[in-house]
Amino acid sequence: GAGVSQSPSNKVTEKGKDVELRCDPISGHTALYWYRQSLGQGLEFLIYFQGNSAPDKSGLPSDRFSAERTGGSVSTLTIQRTQQEDSAVYLCASSLGSLAASETQYFGPGTRLLVL
């Protein structure tokens, strides 16, 4: 079946521009996560959506970062006024999201963002 997809796969932008990154989770998965992986660094948690609950935004590094999830499916991560330090691979993951179930996450291929 279809896995998690992300688009674009690569994005080059100029400092100060806004970018939107898209994530299509696995159908039926109610939990969706965004992570950032910088060169040589681990996975940095950004934001977590679970069903209709208010998202956990505790990992967003600044108010330039925002994310939304429409209809409980597709999610968009927006970075406003991009800075060079925003350059990283942005990973999306989804999971079934049931408290009674083990939470195996399924990751997308990522979007590689380069801010010049």
Binding site: L43, D56, L99, S102, E103, T104, P109
Partner: protein, 114 residues
């Protein structure tokens, strides 16, 4: 809030030798623990998980991990390393029973030397 630590940035092991990649965690409730692997230019792949039951968990590609509650550890192991095991390994934890996020460690780069 939960946290996870991988104390080694890099581990080097000779092919055929046993390998261990270390992970310790901190949660307020019962831990759900995971290992993921990231091969070069590929996405993260699930290896194994501990939710409850036997402390020794077996996963993909011959890997296993041992849950140790008293030491709050979940080390990844394999009896005989292969060169193809060279990759970046991530430990992750979730506070079981809570509707909470999953937190990843910083990763450990495993080099298997031929």
């Amino acid at each position: 809030a939960q946290s996870v630590a991988q104390p080694e940035d890099q581990v080097n092991v000779a092919e055929g030798n046993p390998l261990t990649v270390k992970c310790t965690y901190s949660v307020s409730g019962n831990p759900y623990l995971f290992w993921y692997v990231q091969y070069p230019n590929r996405g993260l792949q699930f290896l194994l998980k501990y939710i409850t039951g036997d402390n020794l968990v077996k996963g993909s590609y011959g890997f296993e991990a041992e849950f140790n509650k008293s030491q709050t550890s979940f080390h990844l192991k394999k009896p005989s390393a292969l060169v193809s095991d060279s990759a970046l390994y991530f430990c992750a934890v979730r506070d079981g029973g809570r509707d909470d996020k999953i937190i990843f460690g910083k990763g450990t780069r495993l080099h298997i030397l031929p």
